[in-house]
Amino acid sequence: MDDKNLFGVACLFKDPNKLLPLVKKIRELGFKNWDVHSAYPLHGIPKAMRLKWSPLGYIALIFGLSGASFGLFLTWWTMSVDYPLIIGGKPWFSFPAFVPVLFELTVLLASVGTAIVMLFVIFKLPNNRHPLNDTEYMKKVSSEYYGLVVESKDPNFDYDRIVSIFKEYEPSEILDINYQELELKYQPKVFDWKFILFLVIISAATSAFAYFYNNKVLYLPPFDFMLNQFKLKPQESSTLFSDNFGMRIPVAGTVARGEKFYPFKGKPEEAGTKLVNTLEPSEENLKLGQQKYNTFCSPCHGWRGEGDSRLNGQFPNPPSLHTEKLRNWPDGRIYHVIVEGQNIMPSYARLLSEKERWAIVLYIRALQRSLNAKQEDLQ
């Protein structure tokens, strides 16, 4: 037989006791590419075939240990390093409380990893195009027969000799197993353009769904009920009050707790002469002033007080804070404008405490000095 299409020659038995001596014989003759097939694991066959001890135990050990170390790293890093939180008065690294998660990850990785290695690495499955599949031989083996195959690629393969050996053991049947056309021609098509296109479509669809879900679905009812509750948000209007403002203004003539009565209402010149800034121009106070200035003043007056509003003409731009007039104003005069407002500028008395107002005055002074530095400032 020099048929190129021959995969191997097989024999079938109905009684497992008859198969076992043949298995021993074939092994003793030193064949390499041969196998025994049965619908369930037959006792004694691994020993008769001299199969090596299965390494799966070690693979499970490796996966289990990696699961355990991953679990330990995850719990330790998240709970003690990345975002340490004290929960129930326990230490950041409270090992006993991490044991359940560690155990589960060990079992998960060990079981799944070992199964994947066995199926896809050791067995090299899926392999539906194996010549033995879909043959009369496999049909009988999966029902009630026990079979043995010697493959033609074995270096000792000699068709007539093998058939004569088989015959000595009185098998129920001896049959040739041939490659089929498809099995010979088959090439894996991982880089086929259809497959690539499939992957691209899948990833695009997944991304589109994730984007849609995170940015649209979660803002639709009923998912938005945390976002839109039955309450007024800042700047919202409300029909409950006659002025239609959601945010309320303190009752006229009252002084909030922690604030003082402002005696210079409507008297800017008097405020300018009588009020004195008691705040030290320390770094801390200037930082406070800068922060409050940037929050409350800079939208209209500009980052450096040059009157370059960021409001795109919704309001007329205020004059610069660096004019001759303003530079010569006393501190108290600027303070008065913050408290009372001026022209279209509203009062900031409700939004800024006394200390913060003075800190802003300090910062404005610093700004003014930075743009109109004197000769001695350079030294």
Partner: protein
Amino acid sequence: MNQIDYSVEPDVVQGSLSQRDINEAISKPLETKPTKLYYLALGISSTLLLIGAISLALTLYYGVGLWGINQPVGWAFDIVNFVFWVGIGHAGTLISAILFLFRQRWRTGIARFAEAMTIFAVMTAGLFPLIHTGRPWLDGYLFPVPNQHHLWINFTSPLIWDVFAVSTYLTVSFVFWYIGLIPDLATLRERTNSKVKKIIYSILSLGWRHSNRHWHHYEMIYLILAGFATPLVLSVHTIVSFDFAVSILPGWHTTIFPPYFVAGAVFSGFAMVQNVLIVIRKIFNLQNIITLDTLEKMNKVMLATGLMVGYAYGMEFFIAWYSGNPLESFVFLNRAFGNYAWAYWIMVSCNVIFTQLFWFKKIRRSIVPMFIIGVLVNIGMWFERFVIVVTTLSRDFLPTSWDYFVPTIYDIGILLGSFGLFFTLVILFIRTLPVVSITEVKSVLKTSQPVHH
């Protein structure tokens, strides 16, 4: 009633079946047209599923305020159902893994079905922690992903352990079940003449070819997976019990909870497996493979675990008295004689009293009584979780906040839906995949192994 000699192990498979007969008997349900009875069963279970789906959809839209939960009973049917269904799943792993390690050959006839039941029960159970959060669309944060404040999940919380335990349990059970299915799928692939079925079986069987070089590794991984599944199944219900035991409520804060929960889980799981198998062996004519001896052994396991559960009930009372803690004694007296005494006595009678009938061999070996006792056990075990969760919460430390929980129509709808989901999956499973492992049953036949090796 003929005499049975318990000193000899009865044959796992009766009626001297040949290997081919086993192929035929097990694949018959997959290859014949379903009967009217099958459609009737599927209709009932999918109706229940639909009721559950509607109740759930309304709950998701309007919120958990539709349920009967109140202050202080914030956990009720949702958690009761969760613990109940996880418990049902435990019998499957016990049969497939623990009995495998103990070399109990009688498990072969029921292992496949029990494993499938585990997966379906855990799937059903897994729904409840997800919906009890009230906003299930944010449940992704139960997994270790940092939120928008870069805050991680709290790994010291039993509720997070639950997430890891249940999802690991589901995954490992699925792997175990699938590994067992591969050779059977290959057998079906070789049997079938239908083109569509051939493609499906080919894909699922991965081209398995019954090679003994493969069987050699396969037996090893089965052992390894059984070895992992055994501590895993014990850990899962232990962790579920930690949800209660780690809190400081009297009645929950006890060390007996983990073993007590595991025993209860196996107890109810066996009752469920026994009930469904009685129906399956009848309608698919598998009496020779799922034998009466097997069912009797299951009843014995139920008797044993029922006694363990009964012991735990007694021991809880003893410790409540012996610890001298007045709160603890109050809780247990309240369970037996308080506002939910009716639930407590349903639990005790179903779980401890009726199962004592299994001491009689005649009842252990007759189908109708054992079926009824199995149903009662499941009712009792459901009420056990109800007693633990609801009774304890309804009488907390502060008498002014005491309240009585009454389930609403939505609670009951979701409970029915959980049974609908479980049984729909079971009914679909018995006609799509072999309910009994062909491979394993063949390997325990009398003549199946070589004599001298």
